[in-house]
C-alpha cells in the first residue's frame, strides 16, 4: 500500500513540473445511524441496539488522471456498521481500493482493485453495491487491447476482494467484443457480439473445507471434487430499426456449489441442503421494440445450477463471482417494493413484459408483467404492475396505478409453512408546483394482503424548495396486522419517518428519524432480509 501512496505522490509531483496538468476528481459518501431500541417493532437484540447505539460507514474516492495514467484510491470505514451482517456489528478501516491504469496507444493496462464484467455478468462481474456490503472487486491485473475502433480483447486474472482482504481462490478470464454494421443507411442492421471465458480455481485451503464436508456425506451424496470450473458465455445485441434483440447463453462446467434445496441423506432420514457438483447454464433473451409512441420489452431467462462462488463454502451474498440479472420490475414506492424477489441461481424460469405507450405529451401508460417459477414449475413470483402518468403543463403531475403480486416467502426468505403472499396495492403520487421552486408531493399506497404482516397503508408528503431543501414525513401503518411482535401481541403499528434533505451544489445531506419494518432490501437486483430499524439516519454524499 505504501508503494501506491509513493507512486501517487510521484505522479502528483511530476504533474507539477510537466506541461500537462493532471485532473483530480473524487467522491465522498457517509452514513451514520443512531439506533434506538424498540421491542414493539423487533428493533432489538443486535449490538447496536444493546450497547453500541451508533453505527456508520464512510467512503472517500480520490482519482487522478494525467498523461494516459489514471490512478485512484478509496478509503473505507465501517464503524459498528450493520451493512455486512444486518444482525451484527462490523468495524474496519483501511484502503478499500486502489488502482493504476495506463493507456498506451491501443493498449490499456490496469492493476489493483478493478471493476468489470463480461456480458450481463452471468459468468463474471466485479462490482460494488454498498447498501448490501458487496464489493466484489477483482484484485489483480487486466490487459485490454483495442484491435480496431469496434473490436477489443481483454484478459484478467486475480483474486476476489473480501472486505479488506481477498478470498484465496483464483479467477481469470478473457473477453472479446465487437460491433458490425451489416445494413445500409436506410436499413441499419447492426450486431454487437461478445464472447467470454472464465476459469475459477478453488484454493487448497477452501478445497480442504469441501473435502471435510464431503467426508461427512453418505456414499450416495459424495462426489470427487474438482478445483476448476470453466465458464463461457456468448452474447449479441442485434439492432434493426426499432428492434433490439439481446441474447446471451452462458454455460458452466461441473462445479461445486451448495444447493439449499437438495435432499441430503443422513444416517436416519434426510435433511435439506448439500454440496453438489453439477454443470449449469443461463439462457437469456431480451427483445425491445420502439416505434412512435409505443415501447415494448419482452424478456426471458432460464437459470439452472448457476451458483458460482470463489469458494463453495461461502453462503448468502459472500464470494459471488457472477451476477444474475433480475427480470422483475425494480419498483421504487415503499409498498410496491416491499416484496422483491432475489434472482434464483439454482432453478428459475422467468418471463417479463413491459409495455409503455405515450398517448400524448401529458399522458403515459406503463404496464409491466413478470412471472417467475422454478424449473419444476413451482410459483415463485408474479407481478402485474400498471402505471399512468398525467402531467398538467408544469403545474401538477399525477402518477397512479395498481400492483397485483404473488411472492413465495418460503423460497425467498426461507420461512416455513407460510402461504404465498398475495397482495393488491393501489397507489397514487401527486406532485403540485406552487411556484417553479416550491412543490408538494404526496404519495398514498395501500397494500391489501392476508399474509405475512397483513395489510399496510403508507402515506408520504414531501415539500421541496428548490434547489436547496426538501422536507418529508411519511408513515407506514399496519392497518390489518397478522403478525405478533416480540411481546406476542398483534397490534396495529405505525412506522413513521421524518426527514429533511439539503442540497448544496454537488453535496446532498439528509437526516431522518426512521422506524422501519423488517423486510427484504434489494439493491441492484440483489436482495437480503433486513431486520427492523428504529432510530436516526444521517447520510451525506458529494462529488468533487
Amino acid at each position: 500500500m505504501r508503494n501506491i501512496i509513493v507512486l501517487f505522490l510521484i505522479l502528483v509531483t511530476y504533474s507539477l513540473y510537466s506541461q500537462e496538468k493532471g485532473v483530480f476528481s473524487g467522491a465522498f459518501e457517509t452514513n451514520a445511524n443512531v439506533f434506538i431500541r424498540d421491542s414493539a417493532i423487533n428493533a432489538i437484540n443486535t449490538p447496536q441496539y444493546d450497547r453500541q447505539f451508533f453505527g456508520g460507514e464512510a467512503w472517500l474516492n480520490v482519482n487522478y488522471a494525467i498523461q494516459g495514467f489514471n490512478i485512484g484510491a478509496r478509503f473505507d470505514m465501517f464503524n459498528n456498521s450493520n451493512l455486512r451482517n444486518p444482525n451484527d456489528s462490523y468495524s474496519g478501516i483501511g484502503i478499500g481500493r486502489w488502482f493504476v491504469q495506463k493507456t498506451i496507444d491501443k493498449l490499456e493496462l490496469s492493476a489493483g482493485y478493478l471493476y468489470d464484467q463480461i456480458g450481463s455478468g452471468f459468468i463474471f462481474r466485479a462490482f460494488e453495491t454498498r447498501p448490501l456490503f458487496i464489493d466484489n472487486a477483482l484484485y489483480g491485473a487486466r490487459v485490454k487491447y483495442n484491435l480496431s475502433e469496434n473490436w477489443h480483447i481483454m484478459g484478467f486474472a486475480g483474486k476476489q476482494k473480501n472486505a479488506f482482504e481477498t478470498y484465496t481462490g483464483n479467477v481469470k478470464g478473457i473477453r472479446s467484443e465487437g460491433f458490425v454494421n451489416l445494413g445500409s443507411d436506410e436499413a441499419p442492421l447492426t450486431l454487437a457480439p461478445g464472447i467470454g471465458f472464465v476459469n475459477r480455481t478453488i484454493s487448497d485451503e477452501n478445497m480442504a473445507g469441501v473435502v471435510d464436508a464431503l467426508r461427512t456425506y453418505l456414499d450416495e451424496d459424495r462426489f470427487s471434487p474438482k478445483h476448476n470450473a470453466y465458464l463461457s458465455t456468448l452474447y449479441n445485441t442485434l439492432s434493426y430499426k426499432g428492434f433490439s434483440l439481446y441474447t446471451e447463453a452462458a454455460f458452466k462446467s461441473k462445479d461445486i456449489f451448495y444447493n439449499p434445496f437438495a435432499i441430503k441423506s443422513e444416517i436416519v432420514g434426510s435433511t435439506l441442503g448439500k454440496l453438489e457438483q453439477k454443470s449449469g447454464s443461463v439462457l437469456y433473451g431480451s427483445l425491445s421494440f420502439a416505434k412512435g409512441n409505443l415501447g415494448m420489452t419482452a424478456e426471458v431467462k432460464r437459470t439452472k445450477n448457476f451458483n458460482f462462488r470463489i469458494d463453495p463454502n461461502q453462503r448468502l451474498l459472500r464470494g459471488l463471482v457472477n451476477y444474475l440479472t433480475p427480470l422483475n420490475r425494480q419498483n421504487t414506492y415503499r409498498l410496491t417494493a416491499r416484496y422483491s424477489p432475489a434472482a434464483q441461481d439454482i432453478s428459475e424460469m422467468a418471463y417479463a413484459l413491459d409495455v409503455r405507450y405515450k398517448f400524448s405529451k401529458s399522458l403515459n401508460l406503463n404496464v409491466n408483467y413478470s412471472d417467475i417459477t422454478s424449473l419444476e414449475g413451482d410459483r415463485l413470483f408474479q407481478e402485474l404492475y400498471t402505471e399512468v402518468i398525467y402531467k398538467h403543463k408544469r403545474k401538477w403531475q399525477f402518477t397512479g396505478g395498481i400492483q397485483f403480486l404473488t411472492y413465495n416467502q418460503e423460497v425467498y426468505e426461507m420461512k416455513s409453512e407460510v402461504p404465498l403472499v398475495k397482495t393488491i396495492t393501489p397507489y397514487i403520487d401527486f406532485l403540485y408546483r406552487f411556484t417553479p421552486s416550491k412543490a408538494l408531493r404526496t404519495e398514498i399506497q395501500y397494500m391489501q394482503t392476508k399474509q405475512d404482516f397483513g395489510s399496510w397503508l403508507f402515506a408520504l408528503t414531501e415539500f421541496s424548495i428548490a434547489p436547496k431543501w426538501s422536507f418529508e414525513a411519511s408513515g407506514m401503518y399496519n392497518i390489518q396486522p397478522k403478525k405478533a411482535n416480540s411481546k406476542g401481541d398483534i397490534e396495529k403499528t405505525l412506522y413513521p419517518t421524518l426527514g429533511i434533505v439539503l442540497f448544496n451544489d454537488a453535496q446532498r445531506y439528509s437526516l431522518r428519524y426512521v422506524k422501519q419494518v423488517e423486510g427484504v432490501v434489494c439493491s441492484g437486483g440483489i436482495c437480503r432480509l433486513e431486520p427492523a430499524f428504529s432510530g436516526f439516519r444521517f447520510a451525506m454524499n458529494t462529488t468533487f
Binding site: 478473457i174 465487437g178 476448476n228 435439506l272 453462503r315 426461507m414
Partner: protein, 285 residues
C-alpha cells in the same frame, strides 16, 4: 471494412481456441476423501450448538451432531443452546419454550455469527473475524472435532453424579487433573441438558410436530461463562468442585430424569482465549 473482417476472424478464432484450451486442460487428479488419523487418548471435545425451534436449517445442524456422535462415541459432549435468535416457540405448534437466560447469554457471548445453525467446537477461534467462535456450516463441524481430537490431551476431567430419584436431588462431583503445567486462568462450566423431547421444529419449508430435540440446554450449575477453577495449574494437581441441584418436577414430558445429562468442561479464561481443554458427559441414571 476489411479491418472489421480481420477482427471478425480473430473473434471466431477466440471462439474456437479458448474452449479447446479449457477442455484440454480440465483433467484433474481426483482427490481422495480420506478420514484423518485420530490418536488414542481420553480427550473429549465439546460442541456448543446454536439452534432454535423456529430455525429452518437447524435440523441440518442436529443431524450433523448425531453423525459426529455416531462416528466418535464417547469422544464428544454436546450442548444445544436455544438462545434467542430463531429460538422462540412456533406459534400454535410448540408445546415448550426451550429458551432460558443462560442460553441467551451464551448465544450472545459467541457473537458475532452469521446465523443459525452454528456451532463452536471447544470454543477455538476460527479464521473468520465475522464468526470468530462458531461455524455456520454443519458440514464442517466434524472436521473441527477431528482437529481437536488430534491435539494433545492436556487435562483429565472426572465426574461422578449421585442422584436421588425420590427427592430429585443430584450431587455432582468433578475433579480436574492437569497432565501438564497449565499457565493462565481456567474456568469450569457445568450444563444440564435434556434429550428425547418431542416438540415442533421448523425444518426447511415445513414444521415437524414430532421432532425429537436432543441435548437441549436446560440449566447451568455455574455462571454462563463458567466459574474459576484455578490459575497456573500444576501438573497432576487435583482440582475438585461439587455442585448440587434439584431437578424441577417432571411435567408434561419435560425434566424426565432418564433424559437428563450433565456436561462439564474446563476452559481457558482470558479475553483472547476461551478454548476448552476437556469435557465430560454423563447420564443422570
Amino acid at each position: 471494412m476489411q479491418n472489421d473482417v480481420k477482427m471478425k476472424n480473430i473473434f471466431i478464432s477466440i471462439l474456437i481456441l479458448i474452449p479447446l484450451i479449457f477442455i484440454l486442460s480440465c483433467e484433474e487428479i481426483p482427490l481422495v476423501l480420506a478420514d484423518p488419523l485420530i490418536p488414542e487418548s481420553d480427550k473429549v471435545v465439546l460442541i456448543e450448538e446454536l439452534t432454535g425451534a423456529s430455525c429452518p436449517n437447524c435440523p441440518k445442524g442436529s443431524a450433523a451432531i448425531e453423525n459426529i456422535l455416531n462416528k466418535y462415541p464417547d469422544k464428544v459432549a454436546v450442548v444445544a443452546i436455544h438462545g434467542d435468535f430463531l429460538a422462540s416457540p412456533i406459534p400454535n405448534r410448540s408445546k415448550y419454550d426451550f429458551r432460558n437466560k443462560k442460553a441467551n447469554d451464551l448465544e450472545n457471548w459467541f457473537r458475532p455469527w452469521y446465523g443459525k445453525p452454528a456451532a463452536t467446537t471447544n470454543r477455538i477461534l476460527t479464521d473468520d473475524a465475522q464468526e470468530p467462535y462458531t461455524i455456520s456450516s454443519p458440514d464442517l463441524w466434524q472436521a473441527q472435532v477431528e482437529n481437536e481430537l488430534q491435539k494433545p490431551h492436556l487435562l483429565n476431567l472426572l465426574m461422578d453424579i449421585k442422584y436421588d430419584s425420590l427427592t430429585r436431588k443430584m450431587e455432582v462431583e468433578i475433579a480436574a487433573i492437569p497432565l501438564v503445567e497449565l499457565n493462565g486462568n481456567y474456568n469450569i462450566s457445568v450444563y444440564i441438558t435434556e434429550s428425547g423431547i418431542t416438540d415442533a421444529q421448523t425444518n426447511g419449508g415445513v414444521i415437524v410436530d414430532n421432532y425429537v430435540h436432543n441435548h437441549v440446554l436446560r440449566e447451568m450449575l455455574t455462571k454462563f461463562d463458567g466459574d474459576n477453577i484455578g490459575n497456573n495449574l500444576q501438573k497432576s494437581s487435583i482440582l475438585k468442585r461439587n455442585y448440587t441441584y434439584t431437578l424441577p418436577p417432571e411435567s408434561q414430558g419435560l425434566w424426565k430424569a432418564s433424559n437428563i445429562e450433565v456436561v462439564a468442561m474446563v476452559s481457558r479464561s482470558s479475553s483472547s482465549d476461551r478454548s476448552v481443554l476437556q469435557a465430560v458427559v454423563k447420564h443422570l441414571n
